[in-house]
């Protein structure tokens, strides 16, 4: 299913509420039937109360955002998809800085409660919406294994996977410079080693990380391992065990939802980077010193 992410309107003019039409994630995810708004209007409840629905600030280019999006959709959690376009630098806008001063995605807004960090958001959603226990099993040891993976993945999986996308595609695209081959090789080797560690330590011979059922750990692992696909680099080729696990996780999520969530990433190569805000480009160039 093709994902159309509707424009939110120019951020400088504030958030515009769009009616729930079209096939974009907003329409699908915003379980706010129009009749409810009409009823509230009738009883004179001010519009501000309509903002009590959960808001998720996302750009599905980001693996962390995909994890949150897929989890919320899979569990039919009603939310408003607030698109914050990373490619247009909207995470640096005044409006978004009010939500998250650290300018990162994803963010969750539940009434006045604002939460950042995808792992924290996933745990919050699990508990608040009483999702099936296999997502974050209550058994002490099993839960600890999920916690362990969630801690390990920041530097072992998320960072290097994201680095591949930067060195293979985004840096050359945005700065016009190629990254030295040595750095690229180093990054690819790190990913290869960490995929091996993932297989030996977390997956082993099991169907999923915690055993027979998918959990948050599998979801987070997979969306992060998909990140290099944006630059057409496939990390699943080296191990049949991992390739089989990948398929299992996709099927457990539902292929439709999985590929819808990854559509924007898969189309990244088509992005016209001349539309990148010059100020944002400068910020990215500074950030990229870390990767060179």
């Amino acid at each position: 299913m093709k994902q159309e992410v509707p424009e939110r309107g120019v951020l400088g003019l504030g958030w515009r509420r769009l009616k729930g039409t079209g096939s974009g994630p907003r329409a699908q995810a915003a379980y706010r039937p129009r009749f409810r708004a009409w009823r509230l209007w009738l009883v004179g409840v001010p519009n501000v109360c309509l903002k009590m629905v959960l808001e998720l600030y996302l750009d599905l280019l980001s693996a962390s955002c995909r994890a949150v999006y897929i989890f919320a959709r899979k569990n039919s959690i009603p939310f408003d998809f607030q698109f914050v376009d990373l490619l247009k630098g909207h995470h640096h806008s005044k409006e978004y800085i009010e939500i998250n001063p650290m300018k990162k995605l994803p963010s969750l807004k539940d009434g006045k409660f604002i939460l950042s960090e995808s792992v924290a958001i996933l745990f919050y959603l699990c508990r608040k919406y009483s999702t099936p226990s296999h997502w974050y099993p209550p058994d002490l040891h099993t839960r600890a294994r999920v916690d362990e993976f969630m801690a390990w993945q920041h530097t072992a999986i998320q960072l290097p996977m994201s680095k591949i996308l930067w060195v293979k595609m985004l840096i050359p695209m945005i700065t016009g410079e190629e990254v030295p081959a040595e750095k690229t090789e180093q990054t690819l080797l790190e990913v290869k080693n960490n995929m091996q560690l993932f297989e030996e330590k977390f997956l082993q011979d099991k169907m999923f990380i915690t055993g027979d059922h998918i959990s948050l750990a599998d979801l987070v692992a997979l969306v992060e391992m998909m990140q290099p696909m944006g630059s057409k680099y496939n990390v699943f080729l080296n191990s049949s065990r991992i390739a089989e696990w990948r398929m299992r996780v996709e099927l457990a999520i539902g292929s439709g939802l999985f590929w819808e969530a990854h559509d924007r990433l898969m189309k990244l190569a088509e992005w016209d980077c001349s539309t990148l805000d010059p100020m944002v480009k400068e910020k990215i160039c500074k950030l990229l010193q870390k990767f060179r």
């Binding site: 950042s116 924290a120 919050y124 920041h154 530097t155 560690l197 030996e200 010193q289």
Partner: protein, 244 residues
């Protein structure tokens, strides 16, 4: 067979785990693993921990790494006071929010001064000044975010009471302090927070745990730090190469 904790007190996350366990009277066998004396990548340790990391917990047959996971496990299993890992939905979310940010912005950053000033010279490696300066910039930014976003006008990092988050944060911040970078100077809010946490934990416990790290600079100056054996050089070099 009781709880075993494999710890190296030079390591920030190990200290956090040790302090937590002792503060809460959790009985455990301390298996001191001195990473740079070559005890770390030994065969026995490898069998226990394929990730070859410290801290590691061994509870019967159950083996667990990652300090935040270990802290949460201990708090759940030993039913420690609620404030460490609050049961309230939003309060707990704040702890996880901190831990997520900590993994990206604190871990890997605040350990660098020890590497550049003590560990790298031990194996004859000089870290370029450019990297040292860049690390200072990253630390400054992280401290600013810690003060403004996490501490704000609260008493502690994830709320009004001490939690696992404060423990993780404090031991990381102490690492550069131990090699002479006084991060708390000119940051009264942060210094006040440190005092609050340390008052809660108790100076005896802290002195006991921090002995090795607080002595490391003096030992290095007097050339009393043992030279790491050749078998640990590759992983040391890898760690040094990761300094941005």
């Amino acid at each position: 067979m009781g709880l075993e904790l494999y710890l190296d007190m030079l390591s920030q996350p190990c200290r956090a785990v040790s302090i937590f366990a002792k503060k809460n009277g959790i009985p455990f066998k301390l298996c001191t693993t001195e990473v740079f004396k070559g005890q770390h990548p030994s065969k026995e340790f490898f069998q226990i921990n394929s990730l070859r990391r410290v801290p590691t917990l061994k509870d019967g047959d159950f083996i667990l790494t990652e300090s935040s996971a270990i802290l949460i496990y201990l708090s759940s299993k030993y039913q420690t006071a609620d404030h460490w890992y609050p049961s309230d939905l939003r309060a707990r979310a704040r702890v996880h929010e901190y831990l997520g940010w900590h993994a990206d912005c604190i871990r890997g950053t605040f350990g660098v001064p020890l590497w550049t000033q003590v560990m790298a010279p031990l194996i004859g490696v000089h870290v370029p000044e450019e990297k040292v300066q860049r690390n200072k910039t990253f630390m400054d930014l992280a401290l600013q975010q810690l003060e403004e976003k996490f501490l704000g006008d609260r008493a502690f990092v994830a709320g009004q009471q001490v939690s696992l988050a404060d423990l993780m944060a404090l031991e990381e911040l102490l690492q550069p302090v131990a090699v002479g970078c006084d991060l708390f100077e000119g940051r009264p809010r942060l210094a006040a927070w440190r005092e609050r946490v340390e008052a809660f934990l108790g100076s005896d416990l802290l002195q006991e745990t921090r002995g090795p790290i607080l002595n490391i600079l003096e030992q290095a100056v007097n050339k009393k730090v043992p030279t790491p054996p050749p078998e640990v050089h590759p992983c040391m070099l890898l760690r040094i190469s990761r300094i941005p």
